[in-house]
Amino acid sequence: MSLWIRGGRLIDPANNIDTITDLFVNDGKVAAIGPCNDESAPSIDAQGLIVCPGLVDLSVSLPEPGKHQKGSISSETRAAAAGGITSICCLPDTSPVIDSASVATLVQDLARQGGFCNVWPIGALTQGLTGSQLSEMGTLKEAGCIGMSNLRAPFENTRVLLRCLEYASSYDVTVFFNPVEHSLADDGCVHEGPYATRLGLKGVPESAETVALTRDLLLIEQTGVRAHFGQLSCARSVDLIAAAQAKGLPVTADVCIHHLLGTEADIQNFNSLNHIQPPLRTEKDRQALRNGVQEGIISAICSHHQPHETAAKMAPFAATEPGISALDTLLPQALKLVANNLLTLSQLIERLTTGPARAANLKTGSLGVGDIADICIFDANEGWQVSANTLHSRGHNTPLMGCDLTGRVKHTLLAGRPVHPPRY
């Protein structure tokens, strides 16, 4: 199958390209960049549109297996395709968790059946995510897991964590961290700040993240394991990561889009749609995270997609499930950073493609000749309204419901094959 993408503005940060040109896709790969030499060949008219590598999302919770009320792998990968995302790293928080080759294989099989998006599982670092016994990391890696994580689940003790890192380093496994010191987080549900105080909600202090992060960095230095920190939420975490990188530790980091745009004030009126973990923090934290993204200390922006059924949010704030459905809206939300002059368009695309691809060691995120043709074509200026009809995710738990967004994906190609809009 071959296809020309004609007249678009090609932005490929990995190859330092930002120019208006045509691009030829053949046999699932980028075959040529330059003026189209075959007027009769099938083509996509991309005039006025941006052509960039398909987005890579490092943090997505998939509802299968085990959470069918929240959606399916098919529905959520369809949402990814509609959002211009061609690769997602899915978290092991399924039921059962991804701590065996069979579950890892099942997830990938279901994703392939849907065929909308590449799904790269992150395996559980400990069996059942219980924090007490090493998972079969070698087997999980064989079964396609691109890294291991204990998510926000606690370790029985620090020795277990150390053993996990030592073992992971033996097999060149990347460990994904979501640093949280549970004795300090203490079942809190929002940032410990003036809003938590007024609403009488239990707060998670910044130290719950930074104490764990500091410990993790010391153990990473001790073991030499390759590490990625996901969804940083506070200013001091950015400083700690910067210092570790300056020291030469093999450490990367991402931030989720919510923390770059929102603050603790968004929990006003007990708005449980903004109940997420880690919690939205202060204006100062948001600014520091934005600086971290600008400077490249944080090399990836993720959606932290967590689709939920309606009932999951129908309770008093602390009793609701944390998380926002965000695959559909990642790109237009991220474009707000460009509109606010915080990043150039090219920088933003880098943090949504090459940055995360490198952090997860994936062979995607660039559009050089010979690269796999995972491509997102979007209109940076087209507006659309978030509604039950426009969302593809089964999870309608987004605070953006009813909002107008700017930036709409027009075509998504997965290894050269159009996956959005769907061809019925």
């Binding site: 410990e192 700040g193 003036p194 809003y195 938590a196 105080t197 007024r198 609403l199 009488g200 909600l201 239990k202 707060g203 202090p205 004030a265 006003q268 009126n269 007990f270 009932a311 129908m314 309770a315 008093p316 704030f317 602390a318 009793a319 609701t320």
Partner: protein
Amino acid sequence: MEPVAESPQLQLTEQGQLRHFLTVEGLSKTLLTEILDTADSFISMEQQSVKKVPLLRGKTVVNLFFEASTRTRTTFELAAKRLSADVINLNISTSATSKGETLLDTLKNLEAMSSDMFVVRHANSGAAHFIAEQVTPNIAIINAGDGRHAHPTQAMLDMLTIRRHKGDFENLSVAIVGDILHSRVARSQIHALKILGVPDIRIITPNTLRPFDIESMGVTVYNRMIEGLSGADVVITLRLQNERMKSALLPSQHEFYSLYGLSADKLKYAKPDAIVMHPGPINRGVEIDSDVADGGHSVILNQVSYGIAVRMAVMSMAMSGQTTQAQGNNDTETST
């Protein structure tokens, strides 16, 4: 800029009348004064031999208590009965409703019984707010305590107590002593005192029981009793739950009493005519000494009797707001 955690729209009608009573935050001085004035009028009624008024006749009030309470529930029940309402008491164990769906299901079931008002107590902050958002229009929600968030009728009966003993709020120093962190009463009191114009609001507490950035609510924090009580007109002590000793928040009951318990010795630092208040139930010898609780400065029992009047005031005002709103909606429907 001062953080605003809640916008007042949910609990007010378009004309600014009360239709739910969820929190004191965001309400006007005029509205709080109206509550106090209405309560005052019910207090004078209590002197009469017939204590009932027909303001809620034919209405059904459901006391929906997901958390145990004797005093608050009883005073709400009495208040509703004095307003001639029919009252149903439901004590629902929290274990049966730990899931939000069940709370919503409970709610929908009660709605189906054509109730007019829910008085809600729940262990989760924001529960009353959530119910007010989800409930059918025309049912009034009165918050009888939600988590650590708010206990607005308690705060208003405290304001009534202060006004009846001190006249007005303009020149007062009010000290709130003890476990502020877990106290919905303290949060509502601070909002009410601020709105009513008290210039000097103090909290006296060790830093383990002090909510993060509580200063942003307009209070001065003191760690020591003598400094915090100096020259105070009103001293409010809060109940200290025994479980606080178990979670590394306080070393012992003994030390808490010696540092923060209100004894006659410490009370000497307050103004000679200072009043002493407590939302109850009292732990004698923990947060307050028996001599002080039963002494000449104490107005603790007055608080209880004012509680009925304040709850009558709030219930009748919210029901009236709901009625006006419903009529307004009907008018709009017929005119279009």
